[in-house]
Symmetry: C2
Subunit: 361 residues, 2 copies
Amino acid sequence: MQTLNVALGERAYPIHIGENLLSSGDLLLPHLKRKQVAIVTNTTVAPLYLEKIAQPLRDAGVAVISVILPDGEQYKNSATLGLIYDALLQNRCERGTTLIALGGGVVGDLTGYAAATYLRGVPFIQVPTTLLAQVDSSVGGKTGINHPLGKNMIGAFYQPQVVLADTLTLDTLPDRELSAGLAEVIKYGLIRDADFFVWLEQNIGRLLVREPQALAYAIHRSCVNKAEVVAADERESGERALLNLGHTFGHAVENGMGYGVWLHGEAVAAGTMLAADLSRRMGWLSDNDILRMQKIFDTANLPTKAPALGIDVYLGLMGLDKKVVDGKVRLVLQQGIGKAVVTGDYPAQLLRETLQSIEHA
Amino acid sequence: MQTLNVALGERAYPIHIGENLLSSGDLLLPHLKRKQVAIVTNTTVAPLYLEKIAQPLRDAGVAVISVILPDGEQYKNSATLGLIYDALLQNRCERGTTLIALGGGVVGDLTGYAAATYLRGVPFIQVPTTLLAQVDSSVGGKTGINHPLGKNMIGAFYQPQVVLADTLTLDTLPDRELSAGLAEVIKYGLIRDADFFVWLEQNIGRLLVREPQALAYAIHRSCVNKAEVVAADERESGERALLNLGHTFGHAVENGMGYGVWLHGEAVAAGTMLAADLSRRMGWLSDNDILRMQKIFDTANLPTKAPALGIDVYLGLMGLDKKVVDGKVRLVLQQGIGKAVVTGDYPAQLLRETLQSIEHA
């Protein structure tokens, strides 16, 4: 087991990464304020892992309730959030009750937001069971829900007490979701860790066959990268925005296609290639950089072509994004592999050419 | 104009108290991150004060949108919160948009919570237009909404940039709401400021006829008291709970009668007398203390008798309260005028006798 400490001012917490951590109550018990937990999970994950985590806690005298949500990005909304509140209130959960998020990013975001807002804040623990959640939502404290007019529009910054990233849970992950998680792993290489990108080019095959050591290494290194960025900029005023490489385009893809049609990681991969295309048009990326990116995404079975939604649809959807400052859409662009910048200073015409290239592909 | 600085660690903000502050854009402009505001108010306050505050801002080049909510405690819910989010998103409000809460406690709580959660947090300013909101919700950062199963169950701690308490807005306040606000003013005297209680006994008549100097003094002294408590205990782990004198009983009254039938301050007055009755049974308050309390509430036109809901209804409603720790209902009780304590250490039989006394009254 590897442990990484995420230091965020007065709030710091450990991430434990390894095999078969779920059933070790010892990793959770020291972090409970009282012996009362509510495990929030979904219909897919519950049959696989709910009892694995609940039983050792019960054995240690912890009162455990569970809240089982429908599975899917389309349920990351205020109605599902209401189901969590209802269950907590019906069970008279108090301020010392710890919420445990057992599942992927949707469960983590919903549960974290419920924890941030139930009784104005109760403790919370993340047990991410997808690669995406392990490398992304386990660091940074972003929680929230979607709104019909935009993704992640409602939310809070709220840090967990501890994160358990159990590589065994990835064994049951569908191939498509494993690939979607790899999109975010690759992103860390692209924005700030060229050596990691080279490691990924050499080891992507080991990750695809779910070799535990390779997975643990990639998760750990991804979390280290994310933690460094977040620690420097907890509230996303500056460097943290780099983590959104591919996300402005990607959110437009997810939103334009209807939430849930494309997986988040798939949209990010295609969005990253759009950002790369714009970066290349600006002279910041070489044709060879583009080829390396294309190749690693292809190998990871990720889409590199965005869907043809029409230029105006893209621009409209991108305009609603949180990264808008004074009406100007700021984008994360690359200046080589391993270096990204946030800028609103690109020719609008080149952005149109990039979006045009989708339609003509 | 008097100014009080509320110091809360890294977050500090001023409260300006005085006559005719609303139309002075100068007090607001320095606190705007960008020249974009969304004023959230209700159908009662909008015709009286919306333009008074909006016009000077527009004159200074600020883009102003307004969100006008239905008026009433029964609208402090997730549906009304959704109206604010919808308006912000439809107007493409960004992270630099400041939300201004113009109204009473319901508008303040809803708007503060919307500000805490829209795009994971945007700046917010309070312009409370009721006495209750000026002396209570303007200090402490509590924001939130009700849930069908309990009051203020969903929320966040979130501090404003600045508070304007304009005594002129109290001129249009219905008598009943002025009295409800006085319940909270009197509370500060009861829990920690015996001298202020004596001042109130001597000056309650001046407050009832809305003499501006007396109002400003009472608002200022109330806010000083609350700020001292909150600064010592921002997250309500200890002393801050004293501010809930009368509230556990009072919430049961509000909830049991149906939100909106009793005003919050009315329920707090009756609840305070219930807490005082229990304190007297424990030998902590004298008969004379009770008479003084009875008299000041009577003079302020506040109810001192709680409604007969039945003992079990009271106990059930009190059990859902946030102040429950490990299943035991902790109450704020008095040990004399000017001194309150939080305790779960009272004989259950005496609590039943207190509740019984309502039924036989």
